[in-house]
Every structure is written in structure tokens, then in C-alpha cells.
């Protein structure tokens, strides 16, 4: 089936893109096209006008700005995997990107596209939620920054307003060297969407035990932080008992559904298992594990 008809705007600069978006608020941004073109072809979505971001150099950069690691919206997953700053300051994001689809897709798919598409299973989301990442959003003449967890509104839905563009992800550079762990269950060992993913991070604090954060993918209408589970760990040590409690609470606060990759019941059990593994792993070394089921 061929693609439906659409106009394609190809701005050369961010200013031009924001101007065009102001004039044509219904325009749908496209970069790698790895989701959008498939959805258009299958008539799952429609667009009369596409705004191609791929010529805008300013959106395709990874840089350290002050105490933040800034990843432009059209940086590809492959570029994230190759970048030394990401490896140094956002290792958990890199780990998740290793399991992102397949190399042919990673060479096109972008971090902005992955977030703006807002799949509950978006692979870059749990690590970014864990890192307290912010999204940078621009509209003609204005720039604002918001926490990533407020960007997601529901399955494939965001709080992005018309004529507003997601331009970058900003990750606060962590103090010290936080430990992190990542787990993803998928139906095959490569090129597979997650059934459940979980990630945990222990941010060192000067006085007292580290702050433990937990994020989950594919178990709720959006990727989520497991705030209730984190609360149970506040100020305490990561004992086996504390881990068991936190894992149970994480499973309770998730809202998984039945779909072709797994049942809600299966997912709820797996959340508990993965969170337990992630938290136990925080006591040893950094690392990730992606299972075939």
C-alpha cells in the first residue's frame, strides 16, 4: 500500500520550522519516520502536512550545557549509543537503546520521535524518567522546559500543544556516580517491543542513604515512575525485605493491560520480579539484562 498524499515542508533552520508550525499548526513533525510512516501507510493516523525536521542541524546535537546533558530531538538512537557523554552521564539510557528495535531502525529513529509518539513501551522513556529528564518545548518565540513525566498524557498522547515542538531532552548531570540497573522482557532476543521493562537508579546523597528511583515501561497508559514504591524505600537501606515490599508496591501501582504481547496478570507478576532484580542489582554493579521470554 502506498503512503497517503501529504504536503512535506522541509525547513532548514529551527526558526523556520517554528514559523511554519505557527502558520500550519496541524503539521505533523517527522524525523526518522520509523513509526509515523508505518502508521500513515496503514491508515492508523492521518496527516495533510508533514514537517520534516531532518535538515535542522540545531536539533541533531548532543552537548553539555551547564549542569545538563542536552540531547536534541532528532538525535538518532544509534548516535546515542555512540556518544561518550551519554555513556558517562546516562548509562541507563544507553543500556535501553541497545535493546531498541534493530540497527536499521536505530539509524533512523530519534529520541524526540520516540517520546512524542508516546507509546507506553517507548524504550527511551523509563531511563529518562529515572534520570529526572526534562523536555524542552519551543513555540514561535518561546521556549519552556517541563518534567518528562508531565509530557505523557496517555497511550500515544502527549500534552504537547498545537504549533509546539519538542526540541530537546535535558538530563541533569548526576552528582557522583549513580548505580543503575535495567531489565526488559521481550518475546524474542532482538528487534522486539518490550512486554515489561523496569529500571532503577540509586543517586548518592551526601548525608544518609542514596535516593532510589524506579521507572517502568509498558505497564500503564504511559511510561511511569513507581512513586509509591520509591516512597517505601525513602531513608532506609536496600535490605531484601525492603526490596520485596517495594517490588510488590510497584506491581500494585502499575496499570497493565492485556495485549498481544502479554496479559495484564502476567505483566503484574513480571513487574514484581523485574523490580526485585533491578533493586537487588543496585547493590552490585551497573548493568542491564534483556530477556527473551
Amino acid at each position: 500500500m502506498t503512503l497517503p498524499a501529504f504536503e512535506l515542508l522541509q525547513p532548514e533552520s529551527l526558526d523556520e520550522a517554528l514559523k511554519l508550525l505557527g502558520e500550519t499548526p496541524e503539521a505533523v513533525p517527522i524525523a526518522g519516520g520509523t513509526c509515523l510512516l508505518v502508521d500513515l501507510r496503514e491508515r492508523k493516523t492521518s496527516a495533510d502536512v508533514l514537517l520534516d525536521l531532518s535538515r535542522i542541524e540545531a536539533l541533531r546535537r548532543i552537548e553539555i550545557v551547564g549542569d545538563e546533558l542536552l540531547i536534541g530531538a532528532t538525535v538518532t538512537i544509534a548516535e546515542i549509543l555512540d556518544d561518550p557523554s551519554v555513556a558517562a552521564y546516562a548509562g541507563v539510557l544507553r543500556e535501553a537503546c541497545k535493546t531498541f528495535a534493530a540497527p536499521l531502525i536505530r539509524n533512523r529513529a530519534t529520541i524526540g520521535g520516540n517520546l512524542a509518539h508516546a507509546s507506553p513501551a517507548a524504550d527511551t522513556a523509563p531511563p529518562l524518567l529515572l534520570l529526572d529528564a526534562m523536555v524542552e518545548i519551543q513555540a514561535d518565540g518561546r521556549k519552556r522546559v517541563a518534567p518528562l513525566h508531565r509530557f505523557f498524557a496517555g497511550p500515544c498522547d502527549t500534552t504537547l500543544k498545537p504549533a509546539h515542538l519538542l526540541t530537546a531532552v535535558r538530563i541533569p548531570i548526576p552528582e557522583g556516580a549513580p548505580r543503575w540497573t535495567y531489565q526488559k522482557i521481550r518475546l524474542r532476543k532482538a528487534d522486539a517491543i518490550s512486554v515489561v521493562s523496569a529500571a532503577a537508579l540509586a543517586a548518592p546523597s551526601k548525608d544518609g542513604p542514596p535516593e532510589v528511583r524506579i521507572a517502568l515501561g509498558a505497564v500503564a497508559p504511559t511510561p511511569i515512575r513507581a512513586w509509591d514504591a520509591e516512597e517505601t524505600l525513602k531513608g532506609g537501606k536496600l535490605t531484601p525485605e525492603a526490596i520485596t515490599v517495594a517490588a510488590k508496591v510497584a506491581a500494585e501501582e502499575a496499570r497493565p493491560i492485556d495485549d498481544l504481547r502479554g496479559s495484564a496478570e502476567y505483566r503484574r507478576r513480571e513487574i514484581e520480579v523485574l523490580v526485585r532484580r533491578c533493586l537487588s542489582g543496585l547493590m552490585s554493579s551497573n548493568g542491564g539484562e534483556a530477556d527473551g521470554a
Binding site: 502506498t2 512535506l8 520509523t34 520534516d52 528495535a101 536499521l104 539509524n107
Partner: protein
């Protein structure tokens, strides 16, 4: 939805073509006669349509033709010919990695990017690199063997001072190059001495 004139650089050759905004790179390439680029699933799952876009292997079904303007596009037929195959192509033939052949162009393109980045991959790295390329005939064993053989041969070529590294970069960037001329140079050990 007006077509516009788009300049595509494919296998070192320049094409000026009128293309609608919803034309994919896959459709444009096949219309231009690059039928070595296969149309499989058209949703990024199978890898049969893989080409190199500025050195990176991508599914051409998921690239709009307008987006590919200005990029250096290389297809399997740009790497070598039957008379003068690229070492990767030769390795696929020698190991029996080709059965129906439909996935082969894409497999070879994915292999090219892998070996450019990693000349000595492990079996796991090979399987990972080819995980977006589906083969429904061979069971992948011979394909992995082909990649390993190609890697060995390219390393041997690379360590020999008078030989080619199987470089796919067109040697006369900026000029129109007849693909036939360029292909004669590929794999020609006496001619392709150093880096281009």
C-alpha cells in the same frame, strides 16, 4: 501535493527526478532501476530494502525520497558486480548464504555497515547487526558464516599494502560517475590502492 525535482546520488551517480512528497526512497530507487533494492514488508520489519544512507544502513521504505536529497546512497549493486564482486558479496556466494536471494541485498548492506564499524565481530555481534533483516529460507547459519568469512577476507585485504579495503565511497565525489566505471574499480586490488 506537487512533485518536485529531487537530486539523488546513488552508487556514485547523480539522478534528477520528479518525485511526489509521499514517494519513499524505496519507490524512487526501484523506479530508477535499482531493483536490487527489494520491496518486502514496507514497514521496517524485514530489511529487504536496506541501503546505505551516508554510510548508515537504513530501511529505504521508511525514508521519504525528499529526505534523501544530498545524501550518498549506496545499494548492493553499488558495492560490486558479478564480474567484480565485493568481498562481502563473494563471501555470501561462497558460503551458500543465498537461497531465494530476496533478503540478500539487505543482508549485504547491513553487513557492510557492521564491518565498516567493527572489522572483527563476534557471532553475537553479527546476529545483533542482522537482527533487522529477515531471511525465510536459510535459517541464518550460513549468513552468519558469510559475514565471518567476509570479515576475515576484508581484514586480510586491509593488512596487505597493495590492496583495497572494499571502500564504497565513490572516488570522484561531486562528479557524475558512470556506475560501470566505478564498479570496475571495486575489488580491483592493483587499482584501488589507498584511501579515496
Amino acid at each position: 501535493m506537487e512533485p518536485r525535482a529531487v537530486t539523488l546520488r546513488v552508487n556514485g551517480r547523480t539522478h534528477d527526478v520528479a518525485l511526489a512528497p509521499n514517494a519513499t526512497l524505496l519507490e524512487a530507487l526501484r523506479d530508477l532501476g535499482y531493483t536490487d533494492v527489494k520491496s518486502g514488508c514496507e514497514k521496517g520489519d524485514c530489511g529487504a530494502c536496506a541501503v546505505l544512507l551516508d554510510g548508515a544502513a537504513v530501511n529505504s521504505c521508511l525514508v521519504l525520497a525528499w529526505q534523501a536529497e544530498g545524501a550518498e546512497i549506496v545499494t548492493n549493486s553499488g558495492l560490486g558486480t558479478i564480474e567484480r564482486p565485493h568481498p562481502i558479496q563473494e563471501a555470501f556466494a561462497d558460503t551458500g548464504a543465498v537461497q531465494c536471494g530476496f533478503c540478500t541485498s539487505g543482508m549485504i548492506i547491513a553487513t557492510k555497515e557492521l564491518l565498516d564499524r567493527n572489522p572483527d565481530p563476534t557471532e553475537d555481534e553479527i546476529r545483533e547487526a542482522l537482527s533487522g533483516n529477515l531471511c525465510r529460507c536459510t535459517g541464518y547459519g550460513q549468513i552468519v558464516e558469510a559475514v565471518r568469512l567476509a570479515a576475515t577476507r576484508l581484514r586480510d585485504l586491509g593488512s596487505s599494502p597493495s590492496s583495497s579495503r572494499g571502500d564504497d565511497t565513490p572516488r570522484e565525489a561531486g562528479h557524475e560517475v558512470d556506475p560501470a566505471d566505478r564498479l570496475r574499480a571495486v575489488g580491483d586490488e592493483t587499482e584501488a590502492g589507498g584511501d579515496s
